[in-house]
């Protein structure tokens, strides 16, 4: 190491990897252990397990929704739409991380929010509600209106977010484009905006 101004903190030079496959993997594990200790392995294992559980949660929630919305008019087969929606959102997000590499962390957060916060959990709850109120409605006008309205809410909760997500991802470039004019931007970047006082 001829790095004169090194402060002793490890960098990638300490772990050069022009070696065989096995030593690459060993090197990777060594690097994790050297820099982060055993905690490095647990962090990564937790991450992998978290993603496995994401996948299983989507499958299980879709299966439950499919069972709960069985034979309910205008919401029949809701679980399949839930799976379709989740697959669309995750696929679009994965493609978007390739094209917008600088925004990939935000895109991942957004994918998680859309799948679990908007589609899976509220959709499953609505499916349960639909199933409970299945035999509740009578023949009066209010009942027929409500029994038609709740499947529409289900549709809006489960199906529409995937379209909105695709629109959001395809519009990212213009969404993150600055609305400032040049002079405003330069004054902000050079901190001549008066905000520093």
């Amino acid at each position: 190491m001829n790095n004169i101004i090194s402060d002793g903190a490890p960098n990638k030079e300490n772990f050069s990897s022009k070696k065989s496959y096995t030593s690459k993997i060993t090197n990777y594990a060594d690097k994790i252990k050297y820099v982060e200790g055993i905690r490095g392995f647990t962090t990564r294992t937790t991450l992998v397990l978290r993603y496995i559980s994401y996948f299983l949660i989507v499958i299980i929630a879709s299966a439950f929704t499919q069972a709960l919305t069985n034979d309910i008019s205008y919401a029949d087969g809701g679980g399949f739409y839930m799976l379709l929606s989740s697959a669309t959102i995750s696929f679009t997000g994965a493609i978007a991380t390739i094209f917008y590499a600088n925004l990939r962390n935000e895109i991942i957060h957004k994918v998680r929010h859309y799948i679990f916060g908007i589609v899976i959990l509220p959709g499953s709850l609505l499916a349960g509600f639909l199933n409970i109120t299945k035999n509740f409605w009578g023949d009066d006008t209010l009942s027929s209106t409500l029994s038609l309205a709740i499947p529409v809410i289900f549709l809006v909760t489960v199906v529409l977010p995937s379209f909105i997500f695709v629109k959001e991802m395809t519009g990212l470039r213009s969404l993150y484009k600055s609305n400032l004019d040049d002079q405003e931007a330069v004054t902000l970047w050079t901190r001549q905006d008066g905000l520093q006082r």
Partner: protein
């Protein structure tokens, strides 16, 4: 010859059954989601790796 033909036909039938099951919409959607989540997971692992060592800055 007949036995050979029967075996061939049962083999083809099994293959078609497999195709019917594998290329069902649910399986395809699950597969797409699996691959996408795998890619997103690899990105997060990469981010963890980037945080574990200091960035390489060339000498000025």
């Amino acid at each position: 010859m007949l036995e050979f033909g029967n075996a061939l036909i049962s083999f083809i039938n099994g293959f078609i059954l497999l195709l019917n099951n594998v290329f069902s919409p649910v399986f395809i959607l699950s597969f797409i989601m699996f691959i996408s989540l795998l890619w997103i997971m690899l990105i997060e692992l990469d981010e963890l790796d980037r945080q574990s060592s200091k960035p390489e800055i060339g000498r000025h």
